[in-house]
């Protein structure tokens, strides 16, 4: 290696760094370090003029190593590698020092923070000397895409990709796509009908030859890496053949159960269904489904199987239909697995589950829905139309005991429900709220409109819901009105709980399946909150909709489009460039002890009988370095993380100036 000529570039990041670290002093110190040729400080290194400095110096001073002392490499490593390359150097002759996220932002004592920064710079300068030019590997991107979840997010992403001519696998766990949106009646703030805007998209999915729709299906395993994922999908039996069934419903008529007997999941148990049923009229696919939990044939084997007769020689029913495992190859994956609503039983004093007239907002969505259990008629379980209704906001949101976060949509849908209830019943509607959050387009206007309709707004958290003592059957809603500064006890016929949104119960398993990170609340973690909101830390896996965090339909659809676009970018590029941080074996140093072979999670290491040495398949290696650390004779090395580079870093941070 020729004499190292290092350029060190220290960033002020405005005051982000400069406020806690003596940048000029740090630069001055860097200049005293061995092999350092040029040191510069600059207000914003990541800006064009900042990067220009690097290019210029490489040219003017014949630099062959670059160290940028600024923010986290996860943010700008790419940027500065780019600048290094633009200056005519191999981008890997560069190293980045993080003195913002991990120094200036977390320390107060300027002297201590600056001392820490000095140590880190010294380490980087020592390390970078040992860097070698590296080439990025290219790997082809499989053009097919997997979309997990058939709610509005998954549907929109799938249609967008299909429209671009890409083949999409849409995998949905339920018997139908549509997700939560299909359960809504109207959507805020425009009050247009959810079904009217959703069902056409659902049918479009079914009709699109680029989309393979698998309902009653779940992803069982994911192997491979960006551009080359191998996914195994478990397809549960429907017992009704999709390509045969015409959805004529005769089998339902014929079922030995004369009347529906079992809770209808889609209507949240507000109505009943038979063991063989159509999830809801507009379900996609328009195919019936048999629930083995409730079907007599499955439980006793002694059913007359009238459904089979009804279907006749169409033979659309196959009670022996097995579970199938399908393996598909895709280049990219979009996760749109959605959310679950908060279970109000966790707040006992609201009486949900105890008092029949306490409803969750989603149940009310069904009650107001024309295709719902009551055909859209707003009546209580006893068939009576409520004269007074309380809507309790922030149930399971903004709450120390359940979820601290704001679920973002509850205020607006609560206003929507207030409007609908008033419209359908003329009842007095009381909104118990903490704050009304209406930050979206036309949201505030909608809030005002609902207020003008005469809906009551009581600012206060509901402390208790209990039956009226006089036995008149109404419920007393008690809250402290923080505007009037007095406790209000309001008797109502119906209580609607504005439940918040939560991560799916199985979010952890899904996260592990796709190798993602989760926020503490269980929402999938985006790569960067601002610059990469739909990307994840696993290349080629993108997020759409509420699995990433609570959001409303417009945001969800926008995000789904963004995710589709990210996938398309990879697909149309045709290939992606992999980090060259792979492990490699120095063959003449390998004794063939085989220690490394079982340690590789990707089976990238194999033993070559002829040479009696181990070999690493670079295409399979993901660069974790586990084998490197375990090679007992030091015959395995890792690009970008060579032993020597790390030892230099250790020595660097500990060699006190």
């Amino acid at each position: 290696m020729s004499e190292a000529r290092i350029g060190v570039y220290v960033c002020y990041c405005g005051t982000n760094i400069a406020a806690t670290i003596d940048v000029a002093g740090l630069a001055g110190y860097a200049a005293t370090l061995p092999n350092v040729t040029v040191v510069r400080d600059y207000k914003y290194m990541c800006s064009d003029p900042g990067q220009e400095l690097i290019k210029q110096d490489i040219h003017d001073h014949g630099l062959n190593r670059i160290v940028v002392v600024a923010c986290s490499p996860t943010l700008h490593e790419k940027t500065f590698r780019g600048a290094t390359a633009a200056g005519g150097l191999n981008p890997y002759l560069f190293h980045m020092v993080n003195i913002r996220e991990q120094a200036s932002w977390v320390h107060e004592d300027k002297a201590a923070a600056t001392a820490k920064a000095r140590d880190l710079v010294r380490a980087a300068v020592r390390r970078v000397v040992h860097h070698r030019p590296l080439e990025r590997r290219q790997t082809a991107v499989h053009p097919d895409v997997l979309v997990v979840g058939g709610g509005i997010a998954g549907i929109h992403a799938a249609l967008t990709l299909a429209a671009a001519g890409k083949r999409v696998y849409l995998v949905e766990r339920e018997p139908t796509i549509g997700g939560h949106m299909a359960m809504f009646d109207k959507t805020f703030p425009t009050l247009d009908c959810a079904a009217c805007i959703l069902t056409p998209k659902m049918t479009a999915v079914k009709g699109n030859r680029n989309i393979t729709l698998w309902t009653l299906s779940e992803v069982a395993a994911v192997e491979g890496y960006v551009g080359n994922y191998k996914v195994t999908v478990r397809r549960k039996p429907r017992y009704v053949l999709e390509d045969v069934c015409a959805g004529c419903m005769e089998c339902v008529e014929a079922c030995v159960y004369k009347t529906p007997k079992f809770d209808d999941e889609f209507n949240l148990g507000l109505s009943k269904r038979k063991p063989i049923y159509m999830p809801f009229p507009q379900a996609v696919p328009q195919v019936l489904v048999i629930d083995p939990e409730t079907c007599i044939e499955f439980k006793t084997g002694k059913c007359k199987k009238t459904c089979l007769e009804a279907c006749g020689d169409r033979n659309g029913i196959d009670l022996k239909q097995p579970e199938r495992m399908e393996t598909i190859e895709v280049g990219t994956i979009i996760l749109a697995t959605g959310f679950k609503i908060f279970d109000s039983r966790r707040v006992p004093y609201y009486g949900y589950g105890d008092y029949p007239n306490v409803y969750s907002a989603l149940e009310v969505e069904r009650l107001t829905n024309a295709s719902g259990p009551t055909g859209g008629e707003m009546i209580l379980r006893n068939g009576v139309r409520p004269k007074s209704v309380a809507i309790v906001h922030c149930v399971g949101s903004r709450d120390e005991h359940t979820n601290r976060y704001c679920s973002r949509v509850c205020c607006m849908y609560s206003l929507k429900l207030a409007h609908l209830i008033k419209e359908r019943t003329g009842a007095e509607v009381y909104n118990f709220y903490i704050d009304i959050r209406a930050p979206g387009k036309a949201f505030e206007e909608f809030y005002n409109r609902v207020a003008e309709e005469g809906t009551h707004f009581i600012r206060g958290k509901v402390a208790d819901v209990y039956p009226e003592p006089n036995g008149a059957g109404r419920l007393i809603v008690q809250a402290e009105d923080t505007l009037l500064g007095m406790v209000r006890k309001i008797p109502v016929d119906m209580v609607v709980l504005g439940v918040g949104l939560e991560a799916k119960a199985d979010a952890q398993e899904v996260r592990r399946l796709f190798n993602l990170s989760c926020s503490a609340e269980g929402w999938f973690l985006e790569r960067h909150p601002k610059l990469a909101p739909v990307s994840t830390f696993t290349d080629g896996v993108f997020l759409a909709g509420c699995c990433q965090g609570p959001k409303d339909i417009p945001d969800t659809v926008a995000q789904a489009g963004a995710a589709a676009a990210e996938a398309l970018a990879l697909i149309d590029a045709g290939h992606i460039e992999m980090e060259p941080n792979t492990a490699y074996i120095v063959e003449e140093a390998c004794s063939g002890c085989k220690t490394c072979i079982p340690l590789c999670p990707y089976s990238a290491i194999s033993y070559r009988e002829a040479e009696k040495t181990a070999a690493i398949n670079e295409a399979l290696c993901k660069g974790c370095g586990t084998c490197v650390a375990s090679c007992p004779s030091g015959a395995i090395c890792q690009n970008l993380f060579e032993d020597e580079e790390i030892f230099q870093e250790i020595e660097g941070v500990l060699e006190y100036a």
Partner: protein
């Protein structure tokens, strides 16, 4: 005039001298080719003869043994001064060797064990040896015993290393050959193959490709199958982490390699590396279960630093903690 060669010993057992004598008839060839000017175990030349020589007049000195006391340190400096090519000869000089295990203790604890707590001892007055003892006008001195055993290159500049406890005659022969022919590798080289022992182990092919272990056994606990890789039988063998060149003698003797040849040139801390490799084989991801599996290795320091504690990154147990 024949090149002058010397052999000397510091903190060692004499095994390295025996290894030279084990050159057998080849000793005569060596004697014919070189002029041995110092070799206490076999020849009657004295230190004063060495002191009388001009500095650098000895072409090569094979110095075995670690540095344990002040006299050895002085001899090391003397030999360095008189010698062009100084060879750290054997595990003790190269890595500290078995005596290096003394670095788990210090002068005081060792003295107490020997002169205070030894079972056969009858020492009512608590007499300890002293560096200077006056006895009706006569002064008797003993060298200063250090707390810490050091390798030769921690005391003087070393040109080459000849590994092994002891080095094998064929390596010694090759080294002398290289010296005489002037075909020497770069300074600081270890004069043995830079590959791990598995390379020359007759049992390599019997080792499964994917080996992970549900238990580690001590050689005393199991009957070792003479035909199979010892590690694959759950008995820790340091072969994968140890430099080859000995012909896998211990494994041929149906016992695991204990690492006397030290690490390859690419490893900085022999113990840490072999620990890493062996621990990684534990066939579990559960903390308690891993604990159970690794319990089969009751003495990590003694196993992984059997010959190399003074040469390890930490060199010794903390004085305060001894």
């Amino acid at each position: 005039m024949k090149p002058k060669v010397a052999f000397y010993w510091c903190a060692s057992c004499g095994g390295c001298e025996e290894a030279v004598i084990d050159l057998a008839e080849k000793v005569l060839d060596v004697v014919a080719a070189v002029d041995i000017v110092f070799w206490p175990v076999a020849l009657d030349f004295k230190t004063k003869d060495v002191e009388a020589m001009a500095d650098g007049s000895i072409v090569a000195t094979f110095l075995n043994g670690a540095i344990r006391n002040s006299e050895q340190e002085e001899m090391a400096h003397l030999m360095r001064r008189k010698t062009q090519v100084l060879i750290a000869f054997g595990s003790c000089a190269q890595l500290g060797g078995i005596p290096g295990l003394g670095n788990l203790w210090n002068r005081e604890t060792i003295f107490n064990e020997v002169y205070r707590d030894s079972p056969a001892l009858v020492n009512p007055d608590g007499v300890f040896p002293v560096t200077e003892h006056r006895d009706n006008g006569h002064t008797l001195r003993l060298p200063r015993f250090f707390d810490t055993v050091r390798t030769l290159d921690q005391v003087v500049d070393v040109d080459y290393y000849l590994p092994g406890c002891p080095p094998t005659p064929n390596l010694i022969e090759q080294a002398i050959g290289a010296l005489l022919s002037g075909k020497l590798p770069p300074k600081g080289s270890v004069l043995a193959p830079d590959l791990a022992l598995c390379e020359e182990c007759s049992r390599r092919d019997t080792k499964p490709e994917k080996l992970s272990l549900e238990a580690f056994h001590r050689p005393s606990e199991v009957l070792i199958d003479e035909s199979k890789c010892i590690l694959s039988q759950g008995v820790p063998c340091l072969g994968p982490a140890t430099r080859s060149g000995c012909g896998a003698q211990c494994v041929e003797g149906n016992m695991p390699c204990t690492g006397c040849f030290g690490p390859t040139s690419r490893v900085r801390d022999a113990g840490a590396k072999s620990l890493s490799a062996i621990a990684s084989m534990a066939a579990s991801n559960d903390e308690a279960e891993i604990e159970r599996i690794l319990a089969g290795i009751p003495d990590p320091a003694g196993m992984f630093y059997r010959y190399s504690l003074p040469a390890s990154r930490l060199r010794r147990k903390r004085q305060e903690a001894v």
